[in-house]
Symmetry: D2
Subunit: 408 residues, 4 copies
């Protein structure tokens, strides 16, 4: 047995996104609907009208859906008066008081719609009865005992602004954004699940790696992920490989001991010395075979046959013999990898991630992690169907991810 309620949409309901939000809300909250009347504005100046029956499993769910629709400007087609409850004490609102949005709002009182004055969000609405009744917002600490406060959502109409047509170029309609504040550990758990799912389906995981991975101390955990097969392919630059190998040969990354945090005094030479050693051997594979390189991300790639692409740039020292210095050739190598990948982890490198992202279809799963929110936004801004961004420190992200994947 289901319960239902009839609601109405009026205005530029498609153009303003109201119809889309409405369908999304109902489905997200587990309800269903049938469109009973749909009178579409056939030309640009015509308003539309829709009447729908919203259905839910129980009254609670229905309330929840109707509440949410209401915030987006969808109103019950059988309007009743708003419920008014006197405030029990100064600064104390009645239970279930209506908390405002910042959009123009109307209260139904004695069968009439009254516009709420001084609209402002997160306030209560107080109705002053009398010959010409008024409704206005009050912040919580201004509530006085006996104020008639609107509760529930009956008898309230909200009008979200429509997208203006002629904004003159600079001014625009602002709505929603991605907040960077999210619970880190819970999000990492979801990412670990997605990696496991991808592997279970026989898919391939590609890691795009920036040098910060090594400086921040995430090297050993990334190496384990490569060894254990959670990373199938690697894309990086010359610097990443040099830092990784420097850590193996000299115990430092750009001259700092990543365990003790000391800077051994010759340290700043280790970078260029590392390059020199690998050039002497003829390449990374040769240096692994000769025992010059004995651990790390590049070592595990060689040892476990995980293909890697090292792309050169004008900022490189050296570069290593393995680095592809021609940009077009490197792009082709990256492209080949990208087309094989089912899931891509972009780990604190804007540059290589952009290059990889340029070659990805919008259907590949993408995870992007960086300490800089602008990097995350830029990388996710290409219409991926399945994407997650995290603004966090790669030096704590990778260890927690490895723990999730390897220690369960």
């Amino acid at each position: 047995m289901t319960v239902s309620r009839e609601v109405e949409l009026e205005g530029h309901i498609i153009d303003s996104g109201m119809m889309q939000s409405c369908f999304g809300i109902i489905m997200d909250l587990g309800g269903s609907f049938s469109v009973q009347e749909f009178d579409i504005g056939r030309h640009k100046d015509e308003e539309s009208y829709a009447r729908m029956l919203v259905e839910a499993d129980d009254e609670d769910q229905l309330q929840s859906i109707v509440h949410e629709l209401h915030q987006h400007g969808v109103n019950p087609s059988d309007p009743k008066d708003a419920t008014l409850v006197p405030a029990p004490d100064d600064q104390v609102v009645p239970h279930g008081f209506y908390s405002t949005t910042n959009h123009p709002t109307y209260i139904r009182h004695d069968g009439e719609w009254i516009e709420v004055e001084d609209m402002e969000m997160d306030c209560a609405v107080v109705v002053e009865d009398g010959d010409s009744p008024r409704a206005y917002t009050k912040v919580l600490n201004a509530i006085e005992e006996g104020d008639l406060v609107v509760t529930d959502e009956t008898g309230i109409k909200v009008q979200p602004p429509e997208r203006p047509r002629d904004s003159g170029g600079a001014f625009g309609f602002m709505q929603g954004g991605v907040s960077s504040e999210r619970p880190s550990e819970s999000t990492i758990r979801k990412i670990a699940n997605a990696i496991e799912e991808t592997k279970k389906e026989g898919g391939k995981v590609m890691a795009v790696c920036g040098p910060a991975l090594i400086h921040s101390g995430a090297r050993e955990d990334l190496a384990r992920l490569v060894r254990e097969g959670y990373v199938d392919m690697l894309s990086a630059g010359n610097g990443f490989a040099v830092h990784d190998i420097e850590r193996d040969i000299y115990g430092t990354s750009l001259g700092m001991d990543t365990e003790s945090l000391d800077h051994p005094r010759h340290g700043h030479k280790h970078h260029i010395y590392t390059i020199s050693e690998v050039i002497r051997e003829g390449g990374i594979e040769e240096a692994v075979e000769s025992g010059t390189i004995e651990s790390g991300v590049m070592y595990e790639c060689i040892d476990n046959d995980r293909p890697f692409v090292l792309a050169g740039s004008i900022r490189d020292d050296g570069p290593l013999p393995d680095t592809i210095t021609d940009a077009v050739e490197a792009q082709n190598a990256i492209r080949e990898q990208a087309h094989e990948a089912d899931m891509v982890l972009m780990l604190s490198t804007l540059l290589h991630s952009v290059a990889v992202g340029n070659c990805l279809p919008s259907t590949t799963r993408v995870v992007c992690v960086d300490i800089n929110p602008a990097t995350v936004t830029q990388l996710l801004d290409r219409g991926s169907a399945q994407a997650v961004g995290m603004v966090t420190d790669i030096g704590t992200f990778v260890p927690i991810l490895a723990e999730q994947l390897l220690e369960e």
Copy 2:
């Protein structure tokens, strides 16, 4: 006389936003439409179908609209084969070649739809004829003489991804974002126009001001805007007023001479000395009357009767006698200002702008300027109907704005 073309939409056309985009595109490009068939998916698993006639003034405009619709998954209802033109030379594509999106794409060839392989954006599509014809992407520098390259938009179908319903919490559908890269001078001109328009309509302009305005050398220009009546009200903190007055009394801002860039050696004491001087006088108005303060933003506010609110914070030195130290009292003062404002300029202060923004209805015009993109995003993320954000240096923004307003 108009020209027209029939197009079709299929799938979750409302839920995916396709319908909304489609209406928007047609109207933005000056066309019109009539909906000829609309078979709405009445339940959440049903797909919808719409057939529309798009009308335009001439063939050019029509092409332009159809092109854009096409990028969003709307296809002509009378499909024809794709146009193939051989590449005239290596690395040279035919004029009008079709440049790809990163979405799944199909090419109509000999009456059949072929899926394009290796989807990737900004590529050309090459068709290999034969018994089992293939279509795939090629980057420009891989094109070879004679390659059959798809041109125009006939016979091409694009499928933008739909918003997934069950993304497991972390993964989401990523689309669009606000880029901070915009032509600065053109944008400032539009803002100047909006200020003039607001004044012409008898509206009030409120400036919310951070201390960076003074350090960055924008003080004199802001003072002129107050004097000339382009700013009617001011909301700021204790620090802003102190820096402004320090500049008047000692010629420095936090100890630095903003003209010569020198730090006169006693300079770091000027801040606390300024506070001490104003306390001695009894307040800003008294200090203006006694001649202690002779110029600047606060001076112009007093001299021209522009009301201001200085709100206190736990980081303040002093504070000045004019600063409202109680947060609730200060909020009430800000609220009163905010409700009177028709346009609000938020000038490089996150804190005060949030406090003001909390009190604004979504119908007030908002301009937000800050060097930090995160601040701009956060401030605009409240569904304002008319808002513009600029990621720029307040020290160059205000002078250019003042020039636009005062020197034409």
Copy 3:
């Protein structure tokens, strides 16, 4: 038995900081020194001269010190010719090749000092013998077999630039900066050690907390640190306490479930409802006693008698009855706490941290953690004797810190 070497300093050796660096290097590397001659420039145009005997425990240590001094412009007083070794192969430098700085450099060859041409850092120096011998830099990949490459550090003089006296205000001498790239886990371990040490010495640890702590999922771990006595006092704003309590009462933080990452649909009302509940009870302590609040950071503060200060701001909703709304009164409360603290953890809040930092003597230990590097820089920029900053995600920092402190 010790080994020693005589070195010389010439020029504006005090003014340029050379003397200071020199003393620091020797001591950092475990050596010692005696100043044998010190002829100080008594007036501003006079150059100084110093001769010192550097002593170390063994030849290795001595080499290391002399190497480092050398990078800072301190040269052996018994110059010998530079050592030249032919490159064994194209692109392969001899072992121990000298890797350049970007400062003007001279090579001693046949008893003469030759200036190295085309100075550039991270290069090798090649000497061309002959009638008028030349020395110039070569990048590694330009080295040709047989090139005479300078190795070791004998016979090399480096001249770091001096601080210009008359830089015209804008131009300045740039040196050193704090890099944000540091191994996260190792750094957190050091911080945990410092907390334990502070507690062992009977000291008090104060935590300054921003709301991101709750959103990012660090709430439970912070609550444990309060309960177990690693945090003795708490300083925060109204928002922090509301988010913490919302999580207890509704399971959400600003409307998001921090475990499942879902946004329950009524969620955005939880914030204002939480405030309303606590106001109804009369305050946090009352709400804990009545059982309305049963867990979290504020709960542990009440339950374990850890004093807290909640300071109000103009951005607050509510506020809670516990929040001190007057800025001067709140400052006084913060000041009292700050003067008692021996170690202060500033956890992702610029605002409250600045307020606390304003009251701290330069001798208090300070830890500052924020995802925004500018915040970390600003907070540490007050000449603290013992300070550490981390640019990282508070949602991963606190759990790892708690693990270090509680599970060993």
Copy 4:
């Protein structure tokens, strides 16, 4: 006739940087000094002692120097008692009151040094007379009428913290940082002066250019600077050149009209079409000669024989035939340019600026402008003798710079 005063330095005066600061202060403020006694700590545990005579032209200047020395821990060798003046009213301090630092501080009273309690910066010091006199800090608003407040700087000793030797790796000594808040117009004027000076001396100015220059609308002004000879050489990437030429051919930059801020609907194709056009012509020079390119930065480079280097990267579309795709080859071209430059303008590109910076000796003048403070810090962090960084919007920087250079 000069005036003079004897001062003393005690402790680790070289190691702590005190000696260096002291010399710097005296010279910056136009004074001179003679060292009368210098007893250097010859070993690492020995403290040093210095006595100096500071000379100035008049008493004012001398006061100013002594004041500043005092802030850095240098004290007069003839100590007198501190001057105490009763506060004239509540919250009102006497003129010339001593405003504190956050370092340990001592007040001389009746011939004895008393440590100031509750040290905190920007406070007044109040002395309580009596049998056991005390001194403590008071914030301005806590001052009561009659409080004995320390004025001037006589009889005050400050002890700045020394650099700790054994900080355990993570904790460090924090001092000074570069603030991004500087008066924009004054700074740009200084940069314009430096460019003119460089040109007058026959030097060469090199501009390193990022694509944001075009998006932000600075293209025309940069083109003028090239034409008028204020920019002699250009270093950029493929993207910069493509955006510049797109603006010429299609009037857009990445599809946006930089004047009207509109996005013409075919706009996103302009980028790839521009590349295709230039490939068809054979290169930029050919496209200028054929009249395909008629304006802009690249046009002026060709037209006025200003050499440019376009370096490729893995993120490029195309690339243009002029772009050097091999990283080593491109580095060599950049190196050649860099060695010729006397002044380098790094304009909103981290990547190319790092590549150029790698090749610069520390004696070249460097200007770095970017909206991201981290970029500015990173680029200036290489010990340049003459460097200036600006955190500002390139779209307002270049027009103001051009105005300064071209319209005087």
